[in-house]
Every structure is written in C-alpha cells, then in structure tokens.
C-alpha cells in the first residue's frame, strides 16, 4: 500500500469515526434534537389552539372561553361534560405538572428523573398511597357510580388532550427534556394525588419527636416542652367557647386529664423510664424520622369569616389563604364552572377536577389545616423465633410482605419489600420495630365530598356534603348570601379508649408518643359527625381558623394529639377582627398583615435582658435601639425584623438546638415560641435556658448581631436576607422565578417563614381569596404564578407581581359567556 493510499485510509477512518462519535454522543444528540428544525421543542412551547375540537366521550357541546388572565370559563350542559372539559383544560395548561404529581404520589418519579427521586419513591411506596388510591377508587366505583362517572369523564378529557398533543408533537417541554411520554390518565391518578395532598397535610411526626425527648430526658421534660394545651391559646380557639358541642362535653375534669403523664405505661403500654427500652427507642425513632423525611414545617393557612353584623357593607365575607409550597407551576389552577347544577368559581388542583377553595352563587368556602392527629405509631413485638411474625391481641400474626419494583432512569430497577402489620407499614426495624397507622391508608371519600360542596346552596347542604370528607382534616370556613357564617372540622378522627389511673375510661384523640402495638391501644371508633368541632353564627360576629387550637378543654373527647401552630396568627387576626366594623379593605389588609406577634410578646423580656446585661458594642446598641423603636411589622425595608429574626434563631440555637444535639436527639421538635415564653416566665432559671433566661437572651442578641454583621455588613434591611423563591417543581433554576425581597416572616399572617439562619422563603399564601357574599357574590383573588406551565407563555408567571404587591384580581364569576368582556379565545368541544 503506498503512502497516499495509507493517508486516504487514515482520513476515511478518522472522518467516519468522527461522524459516528458526534452523531451518537448523547448530549450532542439530545441538544441538536431539542433545538433542531424538526421535532425540536418549538412545537412544545407553541401549542396550537383550535377554535373547535370534536372529541369522543362528550354528550353535548361545551363552550370554553379563556379570558385575558388565562382563566377558563366553562359552560357545559351537564356535570359529566363539565368534568371532561376541566380535564381537557387542566392537561392543556398543566399536563407535565399533573404527571409529575401523580408520579410523586405513586412512587414513580425515579422512573423519569433517576436516583435523585428514589428515596421519595421508597417512602411513598412504603406508606402506600397508590394502594390506598386503588382501594378508594374501587369503593367509589361500586358504591358511588355517579361520582365515578365524573372522575372518569375528567380522565377522558385529559386523555383527549394527550392524544392531540402527541399527534402534533406538542407535549409540554418537560416531557421533551426528560424524553418520555405520559401514560393515559385514570381516576385513580386523581385519587392518588389527593392522597398525596392529604398525606402532606397530616403527616405529623410529633409522636416520634416527642418520644425522643421522653426516652432521653423523661416524661416530665417532654410534657414541659410540649404541653397538651399550648400556652396562651385558650381564648383564640377555632370553635368559640369552652369546647362543648351542642351541650355535649367531656365527662372527666379536663384539668385532671391535663395534669396526667401521657407518656407513662398506663397511657402508652411502653416504659420510657427503662434505660434498655429508652436506648432502643432512641435508635428506632431517629431511624424512622430519617426515613420519613421532613414533616410539614411551613404548611399552614389562614381563613376567617365575618358576619353581616360586623361587616361594613352588611354582607357576610370570607377570607382564605392556604400556606403551601410556592412552586412553579403553582399548585392552583383557577376556573369558572357552569353546568345544569354547578355554578362555581375558585381554584382546583391540577389533576383533581373539583374546586377546592371558592364560591358559588350562594355560598363561599375556604380551608385550613386542623392540625389534629390522624396518625399513630405502634411498637410491634416481633417473634424471636420467627422475625416475620408479630404479636397482636394474644397471638402471633404473619407480617404481610408486598414486593415493589421501582424503575430508575439510568440505573437498574430497585426491589423494595414493604412489610405490613395490622397497623400499617413498618417504617423501621432498628432498635424497635415501628409501624405507622394513618387514616388515609384506607378508603376515604373526600373526592365525592368536594363535588357536593361545589353544588351546596346553603349551610345544610354544605354540612351534609362534608359528611364524606375524611382526610386531610380541615377547618372548612363558610359564608353565604343569607348572612350565615360557620366553621366545621370534618374528617375521620380516630379515637382510642383509655383507662385512666383513676380507673375511669375515656376516648382520646391521638397520642403524644409511640404506642404499644400488641393490642389495647388501638383505634376503636371515629368522632361522630354530629360531635365534630363546629360553630355557626357566633355572637361575636366572626370566626377564624389559622391553624390554632381547634377546641377548648371541654370538648366531648380529649384531644391528646393536636399539633397546633403557634397561636401568633390567631392572636393577630382576633385582634384585627375585634374592631366594630370590618371592611373589604380590612379583609385584604389582614391577608397582607405582617405584625410579628411573637416579637411583640417577647420584646419586654429581651429589653429587660439587655438592661440586666448591657453591652458597649455600638452594633449591639444599634440592635437594641431598632428593637425598642420597632412597630413589630416585618416589612422588607426595615432593619428591626432582621434583628428579631436572628435573635430568635440565635436564642433557639443556644438553648434547644444545642441541648438536643448534646443529648444526641437532633430530630426532636423545637418547642413553640409561646411555650418557650411561658417557660421563660415560669422558670427563668430552667436548664433549657442554661440556668438564666435573661443572660442567654442577652448573649443571643450579641451573637445575632455578630452573625448579621458578618452576613450583611452595615445594611441590615430585612428584604436583603428574606426573599421568596418560586422553585420549579423539577428543581431547574432556569424555569424557576425569583428570588424577590419579601415582607413577613415566621408566624405573621402573611406567612413567610424561612429556614433558621437564612435561605429562601418557599412556602406562603399560595392563593389569596376574599368573597363578599352580596346577592351576587363578589370574589377577589390572586395566586403566585400563572395558569400555564409553558415557560414562554404570557401566563407562566403573570400573577407573581400582583401577588408580591398584595393586589387582587376581581374574579369574574360569569354566569353566561356575555359576562366576559376580556376573552382571549374560545374553544368549542363537540361530541364525536
């Protein structure tokens, strides 16, 4: 072979190799495919909208008018077609979000995003939301076919759009980026996502966290840090009065019950004072908490209603703002719905067809979490001779094992064995075997309750609809055009019969610790509907339920497990609503209120501490001066909120965080601010405060100032460190919005808590709504985000600025298409 030939041969090999390598490099191939002229992402972000579609599954024509904010006003002849159209619009605007959310519930996220989602999938499959969704779906299908038909119609609507999008190569961007296509939607997917929402609002791990303290320090310390009846909340309960319901009250003196040690053997069947048991318990509890991950720290909400007697316009008014994840796309999707028996406006969750928070032509409703216990944790006794058996009610039972295969993108599938006892899935085997029992693991019927809520025409209809509401237990606030206001806390609240030390027996709700699982500490019934906490038209003219204590001491059942939020928001809204007359503007101001009640309560003690332990440091003196002259408003342009916030962080860090770490129980719950305040007033020399509250409080301010100076220099403006960030649910920064400087903080009505020592605000008012119940209800609302998940759509984040500046949109509850004067486009869906 001559040189020329060899050279040609080498060139041939190299060029062929280069062609092969470049064309088959995954990153290159993906990039060119995504950005190339054919099959690129351009069709995904420019979906075609036809003025009419002929679709199978419809019975009659449906008209959809989409307004200038991207809100669909849907006009159908019956509910089935209405639900079909909601499914069509949900998937048109939020298909990937819906798919991601159902995957999160079903434990199938790793299938599309890989190992990073594996731990979430393992928890979800262990808890078994998908298994519970199937149980619920089968029950509804058999017993409530008329509701099943609606959920099926919704799924048909979703699937109609999926077909169209696939045929036109218009699946949303994230499907292209992750290179997969959606499975068809089924009613079980809607139910599974509802279960996920329920789980995320009721997965309180307090019994595990409190048990850590009880096991390490004894029952008395646990009771001291976590009193059953939180300090300073007795006058601001959700249900006014002493807690009795229609004349029914608890049979045993509640003060006696509150004085008992509920971690004792008689209450739990466990002996925390036995060092051997306590050691094993700490190992198991830490492992269980690590497995389950974080509980709903920043989840909360506000709602309140004002009676006509208190309202400056003479109409009942309702306000609601659920504090949930401030994600992009938003959890919420706004709709205006009309059929032969539904006329309602409000927000839906993409993936669930009904309006969750909204109003119709007669009533308005809003939701907040009740915080009451619907989950218990049981210590199982395992057969030493057979580890697959547990002891219950006098005999050994087989542990049921379910094999789950989790597909993982880019890796081998993972096999998971879920072990179940009569209580539920086993969440740890280290030290002790502990299982979790949650109301939502069984058949629950909130999917049908919420359909009936949309149709309710009066208080009676509303309460009847909520007979089916099981989980998550919620404070349903109500107002109507007849001038009624009400609140009810529907849900399946499990009761256990407990024999007290004085030999009396009572029913208690929940527990404060893990329980003996061998029998005797079991759920025996649920609170009957008639005795659920509720109040109608209270004399004072208002009701408010910002996650504070539900009921006072004389409630017919002893509420042992209630994981109330700080009462700071309740104190503040009660203070606002105690005015003679409340206007619409007052309602709006209430939702944007940033008065820091905890700071107001603590400040005399902090000032006293600094007087007792003065500092010559000019920076510390500046901090004291800022606090002394502060109006307690957490405004982003002030400096005092920064000092308060980091004083609080510093104080907790020097006390409870430090002690828990020293004791090896880092997962223990930090006590509520008001319980800390009560302890400071009662026991200023407590070891929790290093023997001297005032000295520790003063040093905390010095430490806070040092931290602030290091982090921020001389400019201590709150908005510099307190920023809200709307993270895309994929976690991709390029699709997220913000950060933006924000008002508010922990426990302000305009909730904007941030992690200790800084970090973005990621939870807060996810939907602000106010409704004036005039003859034709007038609604005002805003959520941070926009109607579309398409990142280049005009409606991707168009509500964010209004939300940041506390502006509201007038909600156009349009009884007929002629009431819409800002239509962007119209879609007609016709039956095939």
């Amino acid at each position: 072979m001559n040189k020329k030939k060899i050279s040609s041969f080498v060139i041939l090999i190299i060029s062929a190799l280069l062609v092969f390598l470049i064309a088959n490099t995954s990153l290159v191939n993906t990039l060119i495919s995504l950005l190339g002229p054919v099959n690129g992402v351009y069709s995904s972000v420019n979906p075609t909208v036809q003025s009419s579609y002929t679709l199978q599954g419809l019975d009659h024509e449906v008209k959809i008018i989409v307004d200038s904010r991207g809100v669909p006003h849907i006009y159908a002849q019956d509910d089935k077609d209405l639900f079909f159209a909601i499914g069509f619009m949900h998937s048109k605007d939020r298909l990937w979000q819906m798919d991601a959310q159902r995957r999160a519930a079903e434990g199938r996220l790793a299938e599309i995003v890989g190992k990073s989602a594996l731990s979430n999938d393992i928890v979800m499959r262990t808890i078994g939301l998908w298994r519970a969704a199937i149980l619920t779906a089968n029950f509804i299908k058999q017993n409530y076919p008329q509701y099943w038909e609606l959920y099926q119609a919704y799924a048909d609507g979703v699937n109609s759009y999926i077909k169209i999008a696939e045929s036109k190569n218009e699946l949303p961007l994230m499907f292209r980026l992750l290179n997969y296509k959606p499975d068809p939607w089924t009613p079980i997917d809607s139910i599974a996502f509802a279960k996920l929402m329920a789980w995320s609002l009721t997965n309180f791990y307090e019994p595990l966290q409190f048990s850590l303290v009880a096991a390490k320090l004894g029952d008395a310390e646990a009771t001291k840090l976590y009193p059953i009846f939180p300090s300073f909340q007795e006058n601001v309960t959700v249900i006014p009065g002493n807690g009795s319901i229609d004349g029914n009250q608890i049979s045993v003196d509640p003060n006696y019950l509150l004085s008992l040690d509920w971690y004792s053997y008689w209450a739990t069947g466990l002996n925390f004072s036995d060092p051997s048991f306590a050691g094993k318990a700490i190992t198991a509890l830490k492992d269980a908490l690590s497995f389950l991950g974080s509980d709903p720290s920043y989840v909360g909400s506000n709602d309140w209603a004002v009676a006509p007697s208190k309202s400056s316009n003479g109409y009942a008014m309702l306000a609601d703002d659920p504090h949930l994840g401030l994600q992009i796309p938003s959890l919420w999707y706004e709709v205006d719905l009309h059929s032969n028996d539904i006329n309602a406006y409000g927000v839906t969750l993409a993936g669930i067809p009904s309006i969750i928070i909204g109003f119709n032509d007669k009533i308005a409703w809003g939701l907040t979490n009740t915080q009451m216990s619907v989950m218990d944790f049981y210590v199982e006794k395992i057969n030493p001779a057979n580890p697959m058996q547990y002891y219950f009610n006098g005999s050994w039972h087989e542990i049921q094992t379910i094999k789950e295969i989790i597909n993982v993108s880019g890796s081998q599938p993972v096999q998971l064995l879920v072990n179940l006892t009569i209580h539920g899935p086993i969440i740890t085997n280290k030290g002790l075997t502990i299982s979790a029992k949650w109301v939502g693991m069984n058949v629950t019927l909130e999917a049908i309750a919420i359909v009936d809520v949309m149709k309710a025409q009066n208080l009676n209809d509303f309460f009847n609809a909520l007979r089916h509401w099981d989980v998550p237990s919620q404070n349903f606030m109500y107002a109507d055009t007849s001038g009624n206001i009400a609140v009810i806390e529907p849900g399946k609240f499990p009761l256990r019969m407990v024999k007290l030390p004085n030999e009396e027996t009572i029913y208690v709700l929940g527990s404060r610790s893990i329980l003996n699982g061998t029998g005797g500490y079991e759920w025996s019934k649920f609170i009957p509907f008639e005795l659920l906490p509720h109040a109608i038209n209270p004399e004072r003219g208002f009701l408010a339920a910002p996650n504070q204590m539900s009921v006072n001491k004389y409630y017919p059942f002893f509420v042992l497990g209630g994981w109330w939020d700080s009462g700071a928001r309740a104190q503040r809204i009660f203070s606002i609503l105690s005015k003679d007359k409340i206007s619409l503007q007052d309602m709006m101001s209430g939702q944007s209120d940033v008065f820091q009640w905890n700071a107001y309560s603590f400040m005399p003690l902090i000032i006293k501490a600094m007087q007792m332990h003065p500092s010559n440091d000019p920076k510390v003196q500046k901090a004291i001066s800022l606090l002394e002259n502060w109006n307690f408003l957490m405004k982003k342009d002030l400096e005092a909120p920064t000092v308060w916030n980091f004083w609080m962080d510093s104080f907790y860090n020097m006390t409870f965080v430090k002690k828990f770490k020293e004791l090896g129980i880092e997962g223990a719950k930090l006590p509520l601010p008001e319980n800390v305040l009560a302890l400071a007033l009662k026991e200023p020399n407590s070891t929790w405060f290093n023997g001297d509250f005032y000295s520790t409080a003063a040093q905390a301010l010095v430490n806070a100032v040092q931290f602030i100076e290091k982090k921020m220099g001389d400019d201590w403006t709150w908005g510099k460190v307190h920023e809200v960030y709307f993270e895309h649910i994929s976690g991709l920064e390029a699709l997220s919005l913000g950060p933006y400087p924000e008002d508010g903080g922990d426990d302000t009505l305009m909730a904007a808590g941030m992690p200790m020592w800084g970090g973005y605000v990621t939870h807060g008012p996810s939907w602000r709504m106010i409704v004036v119940m005039s003859d034709k209800p007038q609604g005002y609302g805003v959520y941070p985000g926009g109607q579309s998940e398409n990142p280049v759509s005009d409606h991707y984040g168009d509500f964010v600025n209004s939300w940041l500046t506390y502006q509201y949109y007038r909600l156009n509850f349009a009884a007929s298409p002629s009431d819409i004067n800002d239509a962007s486009y119209t879609i007609t869906l016709s039956p095939a």
């Binding site: 020329k4 030939k5 040609s8 041969f9 060139i11 041939l12 060029s15 062929a16 280069l18 062609v19 470049i22 064309a23 290159v28 191939n29 990039l31 060119i32 495919s33 995504l34 950005l35 190339g36 002229p37 054919v38 099959n39 690129g40 992402v41 351009y42 972000v45 420019n46 961007l173 980026l177 991709l732 920064e733 390029a734 699709l735 990142p791 280049v792 759509s793």
Partner: protein, 117 residues
C-alpha cells in the same frame, strides 16, 4: 472545479432541506453529506462543500423558526439549563450538524478515491 463546489454544496443543501422533513431526524446530514461526497475528488473541497451545504440548509431551516415568537426565548431557557451562553448554544446547533455533514462528505470522497486507486 468551482462549478463542482457549488453543485455539491447545493446538492448537500437540497438533500438536507428535503430529507429533514421526510425523515425527521437531524442525523440525515450524514446521508446528505455522504451523497454529496460521492461526486467529489478533492478532500478539502469536499469537506468545505459538505460543511457549507449543511450550514446553509440549517440556516434556511432554523432562521424562520427562531424569528417566531417564543422560540428564541426557549433557546435561552435551554441554554441556562445546560449552562452555556445562548449564543454559544445556538452556534453549536448550527456548527455541529455542519461538521457532521462535512466529515460525512469527506469520508465518502476519500472512500471513492481509495476504490478508484
């Protein structure tokens, strides 16, 4: 020769443009380049014709897309996701297929030379 260069460039461009719609895969630039390369005897010019023909085809295909509403914006988002400046990402989108087309053209030209030798 100049005539040949223009002819091959045009052929590659035409094949790229048409086959892109027919086969809906960017890797058809290999096929177009390879066919173009069969008509050539000069390696360097073959490479240049393959590169130029593919580049012109991609410009013809991509520019009408990128000038439409939203499309440039989405390239900016994708650039952020992969961590490249938008201009670099767009340049790569034009240059990579052009290089692949050029090498395919060069490969077949070389193969033809080898066979004829």
């Amino acid at each position: 020769m100049r005539h040949n260069f223009l002819l091959v460039t045009f052929l590659v461009f035409l094949l790229d443009y048409i086959l892109t719609f027919v086969l809906a895969d960017w890797r058809i630039v290999i096929l177009a380049g390879a066919i173009g390369g069969l008509l050539y005897t000069s390696k360097l010019k073959s490479f240049a014709a393959g590169f130029t023909g593919t580049l012109i085809a991609w410009i013809a295909l991509m520019v009408p897309i990128l000038v439409q509403k939203n499309n440039l914006a989405i390239t900016s988002i994708l650039a952020s996701i992969v961590g490249f400046p938008q201009a670099l990402l767009l340049a790569l989108v034009f240059i990579i297929p052009s290089l692949v087309g050029a090498f395919a053209c060069l490969a077949t030209t070389t193969l033809r030379q080898l066979i004829s030798q």
